[in-house]
Amino acid sequence: MSALTVREKLAILSDAAKYDASCASSGSAKRDSLKSGGIGSTEGMGICHSYAPDGRCISLLKILLTNFCIYDCSYCINRSSSNVRRARFTVDEVVKLTMDFYRRNYIEGLFLSSGVIRSPDETMGEMVEVARRLRLDEKFGGYIHLKTIPESSAELVEKAGLYADRLSINVELPTDEGVKRLAPEKKPETIRLSMARLRQKMEEKAEPTLKTKKRERFAPGGQSTQMIVGADKTSDDGILHASARLYGSYHLRRVYYSAFSPIPDSSSSLPLQKPPLMREHRLYQADWLMRFYGFSQPEILAGSNDGMLDLAIDPKLAWALRNRGLFPVDVNSAEREALLRVPGLGTKVVAKILETRRHRRMRLEDLGRLCQSIAKLRPFIIAEGWSPGALTDKAGLRGKIVQSCEQLSLF
């Protein structure tokens, strides 16, 4: 077998990395190269440097160090029983690719993951070495996201946190039973423990040290994880329960949902179908309700029949239709918390309403100028000169809203 070129390796190892949903480069500490004279900055807000035709943002060079792997997780293209072509980058190659891409402004930084070869520490050690070389030898100030291998040693994780902006460990599936069935060698217990240790480390490093009174750097962009949706039978309620647990327990910045996508040379234990993209989208919306709209996890789907999110309408509207007794809400007097629960009102619009109504009473047409559509909104609010009357409790309301919002829907 002749040696692969860098370009051939890049083709194999980016193809192998595309099932990881995260490409975020946001949420880290602000940093620039003015002092170091090096290359790279992070400005808080992430930047998407390109978009693939799958609509997903390309922000980072997302690659695997190697797709050789001793694990045999049936949902993964790189599982040891797969016949996919294998390749392995050297540390030098990854460092050079990252710098070459970054200098041309193709990317915000690097998202490095890897199959596990020989031992977790050996693989993790090489990943940390890439990050170290970028930071120290190349004076690289861009974004670095390292996928942490749960079984790797505490010293390596500590070093990883020193150089990386974000660390992540994928829980892969919402239940331990699912992991046991589809990824028999993975240990959910170890994954939890690793996330717990990352949270402890982040909290410990957030405190100023006794000696220097300065805070030591440790993954300023926090930790995140990914769950595959649709590879097992877990309901949306079950998935959101797992997310709420992960946010609460390990202070994750993000939980990513990845609609299970058919992979080449797939295992027979998995559904062979197109990925449930709308379901994935609704899960993200529900996740937003928990993080920014004051919803607790159980209430999002309380009262639904099957614990599944409605695919035709967004989760807030679905919730409001099940809880009509709480509406209509008066936009000129209601508290922020109540406004956030009105379908069609996002956090920014709510902030604008709160500001504007200090100076004038708001009418329906004022809201029309602030929101995308008032069709969703009308039945749930009272405004100056507008009251929905019996509309709020009307039987065919769901159908009517769906009809009037159809041209605005995502697909």
Binding site: E43, C48, S81, R104, N105, K139, G248, F411
Partner: protein, 487 residues
């Protein structure tokens, strides 16, 4: 009244360039303070031949033009917009602001909305510039430079040059656009005249790698062309080296995805059996709880406890800790947030209070065994916090199996029930703890159980005198425990 003169404004202002904000600001200040109405001014940009500057009125002495502070920031951003009417619009806004100081807070006002829309367009264009500028390398070694050609919708080069300086400090680079250019020589930023696409290099070898990446990171099973175009409109494509791949990727996507789904699972790769044998042949024996004859073995066995469903949401089993010949066992309720993370009992805030009071009472923490009635953390997630929930009788009952083993192996003289849940676990029935506090109850098997409150109770008291009194009572209980230990 005189007949209105055709289109002839009283004042004509000529700005130096499209981005001459200070020129506009100076003129606007003079005109506004002289109460010149918006409709009496026409605005021009050099070298527009129609717009020669008329003499502007002088600043009246002793008056200041006061506007809300945020207006200047908003205006500076909107000023970069390509709309030729922006100079007049911003002046009108200034005019209205002097009469309606709260105007900018009224999000539904048409002028406020227009200002916001203009700013949004400028910010989006800036963001897209940060994203879609593509440098091409020319020269090597000391001659190495990076040059980009970019076509913004608005006048944003000056505004965004600093971003590229902060990011590419260690590089020499030039960004060319039709109306202006920015150049960084490694030390100094220079804004220069516009250029043409032909002035920028035509290619760069690294683009082949970037295109390879773009092709392979795309997942054909998730084709969403509209979502892509919303964020990366076609107008940008001509300057993106990867964009020419898009039509073929879209055309081939369905075929690629269907092929992936249709492809039957194949036989495992040849190396798979070897990997399995080498790494996964040692099946780990699950520890057998019944056979555990020492505390460490029991602790190991408890790691996989499934006697109640609480393990599902917790991080780990938090087992008891202390010497296996301890004369006293303290039993708490359940691990909390910190204990769940650390895997050790009594290390959180309540544990700290407990430790401090034990120390005051002269009880050596190293010589006692501490454990919990329930060994997994039960909680409700609330955002980034976990709210403690009280374990129910079934969970206490399920976990009692472990407590009983711990007592069997350690055989202490005394048990201390910290709180109601511990008392329920040790005595098999609910008792009023505050009433029976300080009492010793002897169980049928002869074990003496000292009843007191849980130290977290002290933490929950806000009033400081009362808190101190409660601490004293608990200290007294611990002194009594010490006395009972010695007896």
């Amino acid at each position: 009244m005189q007949p209105a003169e055709l289109d002839l404004a009283r004042y004509s202002v000529r700005l130096d360039s499209q981005t001459d904000f200070s020129g506009w600001r100076d003129a606007a200040r003079r005109l506004a303070l002289n109460e010149v109405k918006p409709e009496d001014i026409s605005w021009h940009v050099a070298p527009d031949p129609d717009g020669c500057q008329t003499d502007l009125p002088a600043m009246p002495g002793g008056v200041q033009l006061l506007v809300p502070r945020e207006f200047i920031e908003h205006a500076e951003t909107a000023f970069c917009h390509s709309d030729p009417g922006r100079f007049a619009f911003l002046y009108r806004l200034l005019w209205r602001l002097r009469r309606e100081p709260k105007l900018l807070a009224i999000a539904s006002d048409p002028d406020t909305r227009r200002l916001e829309a203009m700013e949004k367009a400028v910010r989006r264009d800036s963001h897209k510039m940060h994203a879609f500028v593509r440098f091409r390398k020319i020269g090597d070694g000391d001659e190495e430079r990076y040059v980009a050609w970019f076509e913004p919708d608005h006048f944003i080069v000056e505004r965004n040059a600093d971003f590229f300086v902060r990011r590419f400090t260690g590089m020499r680079w030039t960004i060319l656009t039709p109306y202006a250019s920015a150049d960084w020589n490694g030390e100094r930023l220079a804004i220069g005249p516009g250029a043409a696409k032909g002035d920028a290099p035509a290619g760069d070898d690294t683009e082949a790698l970037w295109r390879t990446y773009f092709e392979n990171i795309f997942n054909p099973a998730r084709l969403k062309v509209k979502a892509m175009q919303k964020e990366m409109p076609k107008k940008y494509w001509r300057n993106l080296p990867e964009a020419s791949l898009i039509p073929d990727l879209i055309a081939g996507a369905d075929k690629a995805a269907t092929a992936m789904i249709a492809k039957m699972p194949t036989t495992p790769a040849p190396h798979h059996a070897k990997v399995q044998a080498k790494h996964w042949s040692k099946a780990t024996e699950p520890a057998e709880p019944d056979a555990a004859r020492t505390i460490p073995k029991l602790r190991e066995a408890a790691k996989g406890c499934r006697r109640c469903p609480l393990w599902r949401d917790a991080t780990q089993t938090v087992f008891g800790e202390g010497p296996d010949d301890a004369r006293v066992i303290f039993v708490g309720e359940q691990p909390g947030d910190q204990e769940d993370l650390a895997g050790k009992p009594f290390v959180g805030p309540a544990g700290n209070v407990f430790d401090a009071i034990l120390d005051d009472a002269g009880v050596d923490r190293q010589k006692v065994y501490v454990t919990n009635a329930v060994k997994h953390f039960k909680f409700e997630p609330r955002g980034k916090r976990r709210i403690h929930s009280k374990p129910n009788a079934g969970e206490v009952q399920a976990c009692r199996w472990w407590i009983d083993r711990e007592f069997e192996l350690i055989k202490p003289d005394l048990a201390v029930a910290l709180g109601a849940t511990a008392a329920l676990s040790l005595l098999g029935k609910a008792i009023p703890v505050t009433k029976m506090r300080g009492q010793v109850i002897e169980r049928e098997d002869g074990l003496r159980v000292f009843v007191t409150i849980h130290p977290s109770f002290i933490l929950r008291i806000h009033e400081s005198a009362e808190k101190e009194a409660e601490r004293e009572r608990f200290l007294k209980d611990m002194r009594e425990v010490k006395r009972l230990m010695a007896a």
